[in-house]
Amino acid sequence: MIGLSLAYLRDRALNTALNIILLALGVASLVILLLFSAQLEDRFDRDAQGIDMVVGAKGSPLQLILSSVYHVDIPTGNVPLGTVDLLRRQLGVAEAIPLALGDNFRGYRIVGTEPAYPALLGATLADGRMYQQKMEAVIGAEVAAGTGAGLGQRFIGGHGLSSSENGPKHNEAPFMVVGRLKPTGTVIDRLILTRIDSVWAVHGIEAPHEHEDGEHDHDHDAKGEEHEHEDHDHAALPAGHEGETAEEHAAHLRPAEVTAVLVRFNSPIAAVRLPGFINRQTDLQSAVPAVEISRLLALVGVGLDAVRAFAVLLMITAGLSIFVALLTALKEREGDMAMLRVIGASRAAIIGQVASEGLILAAAGTALGLALGHGVIALAAANFRQLQQLGLDGFSVHPGEALIAGAALAIGLIAALIPAFRVLKSDIAETLANAR
């Protein structure tokens, strides 16, 4: 009977192909949405692992999280280095890791931090060693692959957080690669890690321990002037670097400042007490990655829900199309069905034949839709770097796809069974009499 179903489907090939394509489009849309949102959430979770709170300059908390946890936005500003010690002194704080941002190399962010940062994200060295001296750098796996940089490679950072061939360069302070990290599947793969004072040095700022406290302001001005003479346009443009936004300008590091501090708690009390404490400080704000990301996903989610509803509608349309196609086909084939009954096909065999026709259509549509969905994600990831950076992978399978496939098959089955029972309810003798 499967052979008969295939023969009937082949007999109306165009109709069959259209129904398969229609269902495949619905399935593919749902698969793309599922993979995209699941992989995005997974990536968000992985990048924020172990980070309970981020402390940075006042501004948008979401921006603070995006810039310092996911490295996709510009920072809200800088905070005094003393913030790190302030946080470390608080009860319930297990770790406080400072980050200093401001430069990039070919679009890969240079992050001044402590070795605790790669350790927090579970990154280990593939070769070389962890940076120890000023201007030494350890690069993530994607940076190594993207730039082809090996151990001992020297490079010059460009100012700003995204690549620009024409942007200002810190020619006076080259970095040297001393280690490369293994791939982690987190944001650290595309970061260049170095000591905080390397970032300060690039901007002509000396580490605070080299000065007395009272000299800071004076020193800053002095260094600022020195900067100007060094053909480094930091201070040359009072309103900021050319092509920079005011926010980017605000993010410029000044002496003894860091961009943000990542905090890990070892006590739930800290999670309740510390955010309020931080937010009461004049220049500081705290943000919790989990809260901000769920807020972001809720915003994006409205759009995703709309597309998802459209995809479900597409699948239901495909189901209706299969239903109409089979209903029409079976109406034309009532005589055939009656003849099949007369030459020995049981009722179950007739239902099975029609059901298998719907199921074959649905299975073909589902298979094509799954392949199309994964193919689109893979193509998008291959062609758009931003999507690749978000961790989109066309070859990973999500358990939710089984649900989509099940729903598509159920739609095909239901669309087939309704006309099948209709045929069975008809009087064979009468059908034969009409068809004779």
Binding site: G3, L4, V342, G344, A429, A435
Partner: protein, 233 residues
């Protein structure tokens, strides 16, 4: 009463192949067919002759178990068709009867060969390719074996339908108006073919028609007249 494993290969039962007792049928309180007592012995090909509305199709539906008579009974190969449950009727029909219709012949999506194979599979649970090829050759369609029904001429389609009815080696072949759409020459050729094929497979023919041209070919005739006027045989 147990149903034979396969009518095609079981031993013929003693007694007539078709036996009607007090058979008549009413629809909406109006008599549409009356046969009374009648029987058909195995091998005694019979013609069911009568004008339109005389109840030929009703009788065929009763013989094949598609319709339950309002009065009397019908026995096929010793089993009372009208007393069997639907599944039992399906089995008895599948194992004993081959059907040839005037217009409704083959599944259009399948080739001639595939149509015969499907009939064999449904009736016998197996496919005998050699038998299918032999029968297709016997009805003169060897060159059209892979053709779809819509690609066949009316005569070719009718021959394919006869082959399909015989491929399960039924003991009784019921044909409804097999020649009424054919010209004289083709009608004669069709009847020749049916006789030859039936003799080859050992089937008994029961042909319902209003086509008087083929009447002389049958020694055994059941003449149906308008129900209001009763029945003559």
């Amino acid at each position: 009463m147990p149903i034979p494993e396969s009518g095609a290969f079981s031993e013929p039962s003693q007694g007539p192949l078709v036996e009607a007792r007090g058979l008549s049928h009413e629809r909406d309180g109006r008599r549409v067919m009356h046969i009374g007592d009648w029987h058909l012995a195995a091998g005694a090909h019979a013609l069911l002759l009568g004008p339109s509305g005389s109840g030929k199709t009703t009788f065929i539906n009763i013989v094949t178990g598609l319709l339950t008579p309002s009065h009397g009974s019908i026995r096929i190969a010793g089993q009372e068709m009208s007393a069997l449950p639907p599944a039992g009727r399906d089995a008895l029909r599948r194992q004993t009867i081959g059907l040839v219709f005037q217009t409704l012949r083959l599944i259009p999506a399948l080739s001639v060969t595939a149509n015969l194979a499907l009939a064999q599979k449904l009736a016998l649970g197996r496919v005998d390719t050699a038998e299918i090829e032999r029968l297709i050759g016997r009805v003169g369609l060897a060159h059209r074996a892979q053709a779809r029904p819509r690609q066949l001429s009316q005569g070719e389609g009718q021959r394919a339908a006869i082959a399909r009815a015989l491929v399960t080696r039924p003991r009784l072949v019921v044909a409804d108006e097999p020649t009424s759409a054919l010209d004289d020459r083709n009608a004669a050729a069709m009847i020749d073919l049916m006789f030859e094929a039936a003799d080859t497979t050992g089937a008994t023919l029961l042909v319902a028609t209003h086509d008087g041209r083929i009447a002389p070919r049958f020694a055994n005739r059941l003449d149906l007249v308008a129900p209001a006027a009763g029945v003559a045989s």
